[in-house]
Amino acid sequence: MTPLLDVQNLSKNYGQRIGCKDVSFDLYPGEVMGIVGESGSGKSTLLNCLAGHLEPDHGKVLFDTKTDGLKDTVTMSEPERRMLGRTDWAFVHQHARDGLRMGVSAGGNVGERLMAVGARHYGNIRAQAADWLGRVEIREDRIDDRPTAFSGGMQQRLQIARNLVTGPRLVFMDEPTGGLDVSVQARLLDMIRELVRDLELSAIIVTHDLAVVRLLADRLMVMKDGHVVETGLTDQVLDDPQHSYSQLLVSSVLQV
């Protein structure tokens, strides 16, 4: 079985400082990978390199494209990479307003990716947008409201709908539950888990919240100072951490 994403020796420096160093892993279709670590450990740098938002200094990011099979997204042409970015990939930002067009209605936000890949029938686009709003539990009568009129949790759900509407195969999520209160977080996590299972999505989720990865991720990667210090199955890493930093991380979680 070919991996969906094959990352080899990925490194990114910011001048003298290390962003992330020598990261390698495979991601198989339908698999959810969690990346945890404290602030500044290089999680977001890694994610941005994978999603093509940053150019890595070294290494390869091989993605299983629909037409050509495994292909290095670092060296592929920009139009190709951007095309992937709006078809096979999705990127969910931590702050919904980074990933949404705040001046455009919810329907327009969801429809944008459809129109970007050539949909030109208003009725169909709107029907699909309405369908997706329903799937992320936003009432259909809010379709013409702007995201500014939405609560934080709704904005985040809208962002997810907007990203999933073109049926991507790989979803990058950067702290998808950051800044939401816990009950909203729980509902959002439930929803993401359902969507991932239903659509057989692969996902890479960056977070510092261990509960999030416990719920969503099949596999876990722990990062510190730009290096991957431990990888393994989620339960294995969380229940029996080997590296001293992983142990610290797990023991730092507040027990209620």
Binding site: R101, G107, E112, Y122
Partner: protein
């Protein structure tokens, strides 16, 4: 003869502008950057159009300037005078007599021919500006032909108003490639852009020139189920009875009284000369104005 160089600008500048124009004609709809000069008029009054006109004029040219279709408004009169003074060329109000027509926000009703150049004044050349404020990003979108965003605007129109409510500056796709802002002409004029004359667009403040060569395909963007429609006010011109022209609404009293008149004054006048009389019109030559 005036003390200015012919048509105000120095020869080097005109040459630079002509280069931009030629590049624009070679790549229809592409916005060519150019070193816009300070002109003796405020930005927004047509500094871009004036520079393009200056670079196109020859001493044999006849110039017509219109502002919203009218020959006699401040903007049109001052630009016409400007070139009379600095280039000592002939000016006219008749569309058919002109070789160069500078326009603000209208295309003349009378079809143009191959010997004419139509110069548009453009306030904001970037059709994607209000959707994507980053210029670096919009340039990339043009380069990679990523125009999905343009439809988002039309989508928003339909969901808010039940129809495409963009009535002016209606985005077009030129020769199947570049999406272009046709300057704020009413969408009624969009179909006329496939014409015999050369069309040049100058944006002074934004420092861009773009162009449409003669007989170039210009398609107004739309949806399959909401096709483009060239719309105008219902009714006929009160002076010349034309019902196929773009009409201005004129408020005539504070009781809600109004009349519609042709926005193209030259066209309206020539119709009245030919004997067409509208509801409130008087036979040609007999009215006070």
């Amino acid at each position: 003869m005036s003390d200015y160089n012919f048509a105000y600008l120095d020869e080097q500048t005109k040459r630079m502008i002509r280069r931009a124009i030629l590049k624009g004609l070679a790549i229809p709809g592409y916005q060519v950057p150019f070193a816009s000069r300070e002109m003796p008029m405020p930005y927004g009054w047509g500094t871009g159009g004036v520079q393009v006109t200056a670079a196109c004029l020859t001493p044999d040219d006849t110039l017509k300037v219109i502002d919203q279709g009218a020959d006699d408004t401040t903007n049109a009169v001052s630009i016409r005078r400007f070139f009379e003074k600095t280039a000592a060329i002939n000016v006219t109000q008749a569309t058919s007599d002109a070789t160069v027509i500078q326009t603000r926000h209208r295309i003349p009703e009378e079809p143009l021919n191959e010997d004419q150049i139509l110069v548009y004044q453009v306030p904001i050349p970037e059709p994607l500006r209000f959707l994507e404020p980053r210029e670096t990003e919009t340039r990339k979108m043009h380069a990679l032909e990523e125009y999905g965003l343009m439809h988002v605007k039309l989508f928003e129109d339909i969901s808010q108003h039940g129809q495409i409510a963009t009535a002016y500056a209606y985005p077009v796709k030129v020769e199947g490639r570049y999406v272009m802002d046709p300057s704020p002409i009413p969408r009624f004029d969009n179909p006329k852009m496939e014409m015999a004359a050369i069309q040049l667009f100058g944006a002074g403040r934004e420092q861009r020139i773009y162009a449409i060569p003669p007989y170039t395909q210009v398609v107004s963007l739309d949806f399959d189920d909401y096709p483009f429609e060239a719309s105008k006010a219902e009714g006929a011109c009160a002076l010349c009875a034309a019902d196929h022209t773009y009409l201005d609404e004129v408020i005539v009293d504070d009781d809600g009284g109004r009349m519609f008149v042709c926005s193209d004054t030259d066209y309206c006048e020539s119709r009245r000369q030919a004997g067409h009389i509208g509801e409130q019109g008087t036979p040609y030559g007999k009215d006070a104005a």
